[in-house]
Amino acid sequence: MSAVVDTHGHGHEHGDHHGGYSGLMRWVTTTNHKDIGTMYLWFSFIMFMVGGVMALVIRAELFSPGLQIVNPDFFNQMTTMHGLIMVFGAIMPAFVGFANWLIPMQIGAPDMAFARMNNWSFWILPFAGALLIISFFTPGGAPGVGWTLYAPLTVQMGIGMDLTIFAVHLLGMSSIMGSINIVTTILNMRAPGMTLMRMPLFCWTWLITGYLLIAVMPVLAGAVTMTLTDRHFGTAFFNAAGGGDPVLYQHIFWFFGHPEVYIIALPAFGVVSQIIPAFSRKPLFGYASMVYATAGIAILSFIVWAHHMYTVGMPVTGQLFFMYATTLIAIPTGVKVFNWVATMWKGSLTFETPMLFAAGFLFLFTLGGFTGLVLSLVPIDIQLHDTYYVVAHFHYVMVAGALFAAFGGVYFWLPKWTGRMYDETLGKWHFWLTMIFFNVTFFVQHFSGLAGMPRRIPDYPLMFETWNKVSSIGAFGFGISQLLFLYVVLKCIRSGAKAPEKPWEGADSLEWTHLPTPAPYHTFETQPDLR
């Protein structure tokens, strides 16, 4: 059957991959998964810098009690945009970038399944980013409602809110298209003999993440669409004055929001699961259990959303259900951490920069997981809800989890991407500065949170001053350390020493074993036979 349709399918411009374009137009029109992966990674780095500057505005204001630098309204806009840009602009596109670069190479496919849709998924992003930035210059400024966009505030905000809603729509479309692409590529385009259970774990985590994204991004789109119609078209989903319920928004949002946490975390797990075996010179311990644990986390993520909203006044039965379901997630997550440690156990370990970041991930992510377990318990959470303890917790899993994994992944694959080695000494400097300043910034926030400092406020009582000062100093150190990362990457691209064919002796996925370094523009045009 496929043979019949196939003869129709060919015909229009096939094989003309290099295109006639050069310079900027090459990047605008490219359908090559490596080009698109590169663009995703650079875009996410730019957004990381933008969101980082916003974080520094927040920390500068919080350096001392009282209002010094910005007014409370602008402070709220900063916390909101910092969250939105880091989640949707920096972390998510970074891992989509990794997926674009690596998945076709790791499963022996020539490119992504839908190369043109791939181009479109990326090029939507800069427009979404621009909408978010433009909202600062509208009357009333950017929305100051928090990245969760809770009603009823969102129903009252100015035109900046509408721009943000459209930006979320665009980001959602981009993510859904990207996920459909990744899932289709993994399901249909694996090389002969590359069975699902032989895939590198990075592909597995992205397959599951892709499904998560397809399932929950449309729900977020629905939630912001309801907000939009509440604002302009007379509906009353969340408008209490019209018989709506603001708490309903929280339920819908977190139905998206909790799986979203794993959308960010799972690809990071995948990257770490590639790095740790390579530098332990051992295969990953418990591969099958890793796959099942990933799937288990993904499935459980759909039934725990209300642990973000223990304080809305739900019945005790509800609180108990969500508490037990949430603590259950510790089991598959524990399996993963156990497997990573067991992979390192009695391995021939070396600690080059990628491994340092992976080890840092392992340590700090586990810490963030433990504070998550603390917060999952209703009686404690009611005390800690919306305090800096929560801020510390999710930065341990978002920054020390996802971001550290992304850094490790960049160092790990830079030789494959560019054919050049990064400067190992500077890479290690980058790791240690990041590691130290991260903890200076965020560890102390546990203390101010336990003492009762609420999040999202520009001013605070004098008693919180010490830890806020420490945290602000750490934040500026952390921010400046990331400029070193930019320097290391640029130096590697421009003048790095030529990378050996296989710079990491323990790496065993297809992009290391079957392809030259640097990876050529087109790879696996004839699929390898792995049977």
Binding site: A113, T184, P218, G222, L248
Partner: protein, 177 residues
Amino acid sequence: MNRVANRRTLMRLAVVAAAMFGFGYALVPFYDAICRALGVNEFIQADARPAGNTQVDASRTITVELDANVHDVPMHFKPLVRYVKVHPGELATVEYEIANVRGAPVTAQAVPSYGPARAAEHFRKMECFCFTQQTLAAGETRRMPLVFMVDPKLPRDVNTITLSYTFFEVAGRGGRS
């Protein structure tokens, strides 16, 4: 080759995405049903239940703040007093004034909301203009009573209740159709 299989997978996943968008909206009636079944957020039924204890608890005084809004209806709507102080268990009557400022009849209904929300189930309305739709002739002004009582079971830490009414137009009933 893969082309056909890819298309098919694309279509399936796209259907899932579209269905999930619908699912987001389906959550609205779903939560409504859940809340009804579990008795969460039940403002209307709370009124219908008889008060368990009608004795006046003179040891407490509750301030009931009255708030009145209209949502996209050409009406003026206000309470005659801004707040009343009542003892739990005590019957109280307040009056609201509503005026149709459009040159045509209008039908509208008031929807209550309470702050704090948990006060709702302890706020018993015996007689209220919000129980029925109100039809006003062009330019008509009307005074309407609200007779209520605060249940003595009201949690002790609540000493102020904000009762907020919003009038919504009932389309097709002597108003815009």
